[in-house]
């Protein structure tokens, strides 16, 4: 019993870190103009006092308000995305005072929302409001700002471990978002749902919100709201995984399409979940592909260490199950090294085909494997160990008695060995024959792989991959619309100039002619 909650809280932290990392690291896309709102402040912070820090944070939030309003007016999601991206850096600086003062200066005195939000912040909040905040009330027209403030208070409550309050507030906010039904809210809504699910997860009540999430998912799909859709699918999968309901998770995956335009981080998570489902269903090739994508798409920094570790652990097992040995360098990476030690030992056992060592490692680290929910997957490796063992024997001996095979692999009996060898021959693990009467196994000579269709196949796979990469990158190119218009205008202007020039020259000529005539 005590095992389960500890594990989940650890995983949660990973997931959390993953989110924080995502906002920062990815999306260095085509933001050409004004990109230096948050980054320049970092060095200054150390010098400044608490008061100034507070003021800076408030200024930042206000700046976000402007972005949200702009986003709502211009129907351009990227402004909102930019504001949300800097939430993670803002998160560390959120204090009661910052929030209370922002709220005070954004709502009228008798506003319902103001009372509500301040109520959640506690009694401290009222004390920190300065009179000047209330004088300079700038009311914002758009509901985005309102939802954003709700979101900030939610994040604050989460950081302060005030889960019960958080659940209440998140319920209210989710309701608000659903009632408003504005497309410009999509990005914010995704965040709101994320924290909503988070509160329920921390309090261990995930099962309760499943219907709400499913409903919201349906609505998001109908509205083609990619951000919310991708977030919700991941939340639902996470929800199912929490209770080991892989069957349901699989059904969800097969009934939904993950939006193509989802952010890299949501995609990475989705791929990880997909990889796990497929691994459990023994579809290792598919699982391997998904996990590889998950590992590659996830931002490579220390913040996402948890996600990288989890994904890599699973990837190692799946690779082993496929009969491949993961690269040694993977286990040396500083972020992964420590977490992967048990997996490294398992890999070694599989590589050598040593059944005893495998059992020992399994027994020694069984608690870790259970905590990672990988135990049943690792159990399946047992027969891979045997397979590798048989392959090694078949490679080194051209003829070996079944008794020796049995001794080398630590099997129960000679009959067992005979069945196992026969099965490996059928499955194509080794190329050999058994002589039953004399009780030995004879290996056939190696076939030249270049006389088969195998190279052609591998070649095709690589070319197809390169071509797909090319096509995808062409598709992904984005051209700034404005400059195109500008260019066109410029060309037009230049042409005009040219035309007038030509005209002038012509006129000048005519004049000259006339002059000539007159002369």
């Amino acid at each position: 019993m005590s095992e389960a909650p500890r594990r989940s809280s650890r995983l949660n932290k990973n997931q959390e870190e993953d989110t924080k990392g995502k906002v920062k690291a990815v999306d260095q896309d085509v933001e050409m103009e004004e990109s230096a709102t948050t980054s320049t402040e970092t060095p200054k912070e150390k010098v400044l006092g608490a008061k100034e820090l507070e003021a800076l944070a408030i200024a930042d939030i206000k700046q976000h308000f402007v972005l949200f309003t702009k986003s709502a007016k211009t129907h351009e999601a990227r402004f909102a995305i930019r504001a949300l991206r800097s939430v993670s850096s803002l998160r560390k600086r959120l204090t009661v005072a910052v929030l209370a003062r922002t709220i005070a200066s954004s709502y009228g005195k008798d506003d319902e929302a103001r009372k509500l939000l301040l109520g959640y912040l506690g009694s401290e909040a009222l004390g920190s409001i300065t009179p000047e905040d209330e004088v300079t009330v700038t009311k914002f027209e758009t509901p985005e700002v309102d939802v954003y403030l709700h979101l900030l208070v939610m994040i604050y409550l989460l950081d302060q471990n005030q889960h019960e309050k958080g659940i209440e507030l998140s319920n209210i906010t989710v309701k608000v978002v659903q009632d408003l039904n504005r497309r410009s809210l999509d990005q914010l809504a995704a965040k709101v749902y994320f924290y909503y699910a988070r509160f329920y997860e921390v309090t261990g009540r995930l099962a309760e919100i499943r219907p709400t999430l499913l409903n919201a998912q349906r609505t998001a799909t109908l509205r083609r709201d990619d951000d919310t859709q991708s977030t919700l699918i991941n939340l639902l999968l996470r929800n199912y995984f929490h209770y080991n309901l892989y069957d349901q998770a699989d059904k969800l995956v097969s009934k939904t399409t993950f939006p193509e335009n989802a952010t890299n981080n949501q995609l990475a998570r989705y791929m990880y979940y997909l990889g796990r489902i497929k691994a459990i269903q023994l579809d290792y090739t598919e699982s391997h592909q998904s996990l590889l994508q998950a590992v590659r798409k996830a931002p490579q920094n220390n913040v996402t260490a948890g996600f990288q570790q989890e994904a890599n652990k699973l990837l190692i097992i799946v690779q082993l199950l496929m009969g491949e040995i993961p690269e040694r360098s993977l286990f040396r990476q500083p972020v992964l090294r420590k977490a992967l030690i048990p997996y490294f030992q398992i890999t070694q056992a599989v590589r050598v085909g040593d059944l005893n060592k495998f059992q020992e490692t399994l027994a020694a680290h069984s608690a870790t494997f259970h905590a990672d929910k990988n135990y049943t997957l690792i159990l399946r490796l047992r027969h891979n160990v045997i397979k590798t063992g048989i392959r090694m024997i078949s490679l080194s001996y051209s003829r070996i008695s079944l008794r020796d095979v049995c001794l080398k692999l630590h099997l129960d009996s000679e009959e067992d060995a005979e069945y196992i060898v026969a099965k490996s021959i059928r499955d194509g693990v080794i190329d050999a024959t058994i002589d039953h009467e004399k009780g030995f196994m004879r290996s056939k000579e190696n076939v030249d792989i270049y006389s088969t269709n195998e190279p052609q196949h591998a070649f095709h796979q690589r070319i197809a991959f390169c071509l797909k990469l090319h096509n995808d990158s062409v598709k992904a190119m984005r051209f700034p619309l404005k400059t195109v218009n500008q260019d066109a205008a410029e060309v037009e202007a230049a042409r005009d100039q040219e035309r007038t020039l030509v005209q002038e020259i012509a006129e000048a000529d005519e004049d000259m002619d006339e002059d000539h005539d007159e002369l």
């Binding site: 023994l282 579809d283 196992i420």
Partner: protein, 263 residues
Amino acid sequence: MALTDIKTLAQELSKEYNAPNPDLAKCGQYLSKLKIALIELQYLTHEGKHNNIEELTLARDVLEIGAQWSVRTKDIPSFERYMAQLQTYYNDYSELPTSPLKYNLIGLNLLCLLSQNRISDFHTALETIESQELLNNPAIQHPIKLEQSLMEGSYNRVWSSRADVPSKEYLFFIDILMDTIRNEIASCSEKAYSSLPLKDAGTLLFFTNMEDILNFAKERNWKVNPVEQKAYFHSDADERISIPANQIIKQTMFYARDMDRIV
């Protein structure tokens, strides 16, 4: 039908079923009556909210007997239906006391999946079981060990596992499994041996009398040489490797089209 009637009916059913020589046809009649009654009370559709533990337990017990009864009458689809309905009672009603039959039935379900060679479903079902039970419960351990031996190819152990089944209902599925295994062994042998003495083939396939072996050999198209008492398997030497012309043409056209686009 009122609740009290259902209760008496359920009691009659369990009395009949647990009798030394239960009348299975009679049990079936009871069960279909009970199912209709439960549907009327919405216990099987889960539309209303039910919080009465006693009633929930009653519904669950009926379904459990139903599942076991299906195994006895060798009706696999019916067994799967009962199991699907029971899942809700096992997973979603946490306030319900754990049934003593729960793991036995889950184990049976695992074995049922295994006997139909639905390995991926088997593993998905395995994940929903708590790790404590996974390691220690004999009813669960049995199918797990069985699956492991099957994957490895230690068919000997599968055969001997017949002796230590957790309950007699397991035997039904293991017998189905034996047929699957025989075919597995046969297909392995065809690849692994060029010829095999009939007597040894009999031991490998767990047959005891010659007639069964000969019938089986006929089924699998083995050439039996009656003089030598040996079975010969067709070798795959005469298999020819064809050039996948069509596929290569398709691939090349695909490259040409894409190259054209790039240039």
